[in-house]
């Protein structure tokens, strides 16, 4: 059998980068599916595109600028109303740093 395009170890590493957790079963299935997809994508290797510039934007345009004038932004309470937890006019998050004292 040919070498896999992606190993189980790589799958777990990528999951960590993407802030996802996978059960053992999910990781095995993910490895098999990504392996098949990446195997198919090897078809791109038929093409030598080293001299072809990449297309990051299909329709070329300049970055537009607006006048540097302050504008009203959204209402804070409306935005905080959508937060899972808020406190004192801000988003409440789990403790990040232990504060001594």
């Amino acid at each position: 059998m040919a070498d896999p395009k992606i190993t189980l170890e790589q799958v777990l590493h990528v999951a960590k980068l993407a802030r996802l957790t996978l059960s053992d079963e999910e990781a095995r299935q993910m490895q098999a599916q990504l392996d098949a997809i990446l195997g198919y994508m090897e078809g791109l290797d038929q093409l030598d595109v080293s001299d072809v510039p990449p297309t990051f934007h299909s329709i070329p345009m300049d970055a537009p600028l607006r006048p540097d004038v302050p504008e009203r932004c959204s209402d804070r309470s409306e935005i905080l109303a959508q937060a899972p937890a808020s406190e004192a006019g801000g988003f409440a998050v789990p403790l990040v740093l232990e504060i001594e004292g």
């Binding site: 198919y40 791109l44 934007h57 899972p84």
Partner: protein, 488 residues
């Protein structure tokens, strides 16, 4: 109301403006049809009774006060649930946004409201618009009104099913790699993916930012063209919104195709496995030729790489865009021991399998050591696909292919094999990658009675050409007179 529920947006607007029916009466009739059929079709995730009746009452007040009515006054419309609607739940068919209520309207939602259209509700989709069958919705499987055991297509399957089933005459969808065109083909309606930049993406929940476009969906080419007029235009809140003249799309429907050069991707059409799709495509081409269009052979030689290129670029962009869903500022939070665990638990429980798979693929393609081999390479091949179209458009005005390799496949048929599902997008992906506009419009029924879609592709910002040619196809082989059989 004559011909309910199949009357056009033009007829509804005309009757409302003339006062032969009130916008409230129209809205109540469509709301009750949606309430009756939605349990069977699952095309709406939210039916906004209150908002719809308030919008309709506003139209009636304006008429009573002698004010000028908008181009879609009183016309019911459905909005895909990845477009933000102020005060109305916007879920993206994901558990991670299950209870999200946006504090603002998307640009296209503002535009639709300003036109006088009445938003009936929010339509089902593949989670975060990732899918080709609508089977990735976290909430319900949409059904195809032509055959309830068939996929409605995706990701705008709810909008397509609702329009085809006469729950609304018009709908908004979004298209990243075919997500308005493919469900339009499967459900026998018309949908336009505008040129990248033609319609503002402000308030469209981002999937792949270099590909996403909002598009109009309707049963007829004229209605889709009219809706495109309402949506198109510059909006400075989207930095990629094109600041250029929009077209007269409705008027373009009345132009003749005589003398227009239709580029036929011959090798691709001859290679079709499905005899019905091949026959439908040939019939549409013959009809165009009979009306005086000139058929010329063209090729898009790198289209065969589009699945690889698209599923690298779109997933890379998605992995970055979906990083914002971390359980902190909005959406689902599943608390963990610390911040990092809160992120991972929220994301693992909030995202469904296909979204996780795409985040994984995109993260891999962007990760150290693989960026050049996958992501950058895909962007280079994307250039070759763009150049293919540049070359083709030197010889023709529009490029013609089928929209899909087969009519609607069965629900469950492809869910076990993600790659198999991706390969079904082969015809809709190349125009998305090139940023060029494309339309899908019906060109007949298969032997089994399923709609077949024809795709037409035009040069950047030449949507008028699409309207002209699609209208001729509709006149000769459209499905306006046949309604979905599964509705009983």
């Amino acid at each position: 109301m004559s011909d309910f529920p199949w009357q056009s947006a033009f007829e509804i607007r005309q009757q409302v403006a003339a006062g032969s029916v009130s916008a409230l009466e129209v809205t109540r009739a469509y709301l009750s049809r949606a309430e009756e059929l939605n349990p069977m079709l699952s095309c709406f995730l939210t039916i906004d009774y209150e908002g719809a009746l308030a919008s309709a009452a506003q139209v009636d007040r304006m008429r009573g006060g002698g004010e000028e009515l908008g181009p879609l006054a009183g016309v019911p419309i459905a909005v895909k649930d990845n477009l933000c609607t102020r005060g109305v739940r916007t879920t993206c068919a994901s558990k991670i946004l299950g209870e999200y209520i946006p504090p603002y309207d998307a640009h296209v939602v503002e535009a639709v409201r300003a036109s006088g259209a009445v938003i009936l509700g929010k339509t089902n989709l593949d989670e975060f618009a990732m899918g080709s069958s609508n089977e990735n919705s976290a909430f319900a499987n949409v059904r195809n009104p032509w055959a309830l055991d068939r996929a409605p297509g995706g990701s705008s399957g709810g909008s397509a099913s609702a329009t085809a089933a006469g729950l609304v005459p018009l709908a908004l969808g979004s298209d990243t790699g075919g997500s308005v065109r493919q469900p339009a083909a499967f459900c026998g309606i018309t949908a336009i993916k505008p040129t990248y930049g033609r319609v503002s993406r402000y308030g469209l929940v981002a999937f792949a930012s270099s590909l996403d476009q909002v598009g109009p969906m309707a049963r007829s080419v004229r209605e889709a063209s009219r809706l495109l007029e309402v949506l198109a235009g510059h909006d400075r809140r989207d930095a990629t919104s094109a600041d250029r003249e929009t077209g007269a799309y409705l008027a373009a429907c009345d132009r003749q195709v005589k003398g227009l050069r239709i580029g036929v991707v011959r090798d691709l059409i001859d290679g079709l496995q499905d005899g019905d799709v091949r026959a439908g495509t040939e019939a549409a081409l013959s009809a165009l030729e009979k009306k005086g269009a000139v058929l010329v052979d063209v090729s898009v030689p790198h289209a065969k790489h589009a699945v690889s290129v698209y599923y690298l670029i779109a997933t890379a962009e998605a992995s970055s865009n979906l990083a914002r869903f971390d359980g902190i500022r909005y959406g689902l939070r599943v608390p963990g021991e610390d911040l990092a665990e809160t992120y991972t638990r929220s994301r693992a429980q909030g995202f469904g399998p296909e979204v996780r798979r795409r985040i994984m693929l995109g993260t891999y393609a962007l990760s150290a050591g693989y960026y050049d081999a996958f992501y950058l390479k895909a962007q280079r091949v994307r250039t070759l696909i763009r150049r293919d179209y540049d070359t083709a458009f030197e010889r023709c005005d529009v490029v013609c292919t089928p929209t899909t390799p087969t009519p609607a496949f069965a629900l469950g048929e492809k869910t076990g094999d993600p790659l198999e599902m991706y390969l079904a997008d082969i015809f809709t992906l190349p125009p998305s990658l090139a940023g060029v506009p494309a339309v899908s419009t019906p060109c007949g029924l298969s032997a089994a009675g399923l709609p077949i879609g024809l795709q037409l592709v035009a040069p950047p910002f030449e949507e008028e050409l699409l309207c002209t040619v699609a209208q001729s196809v509709e006149d000769e082989c459209g499905l306006l007179d046949s309604h979905p059989s599964a509705l009983g």
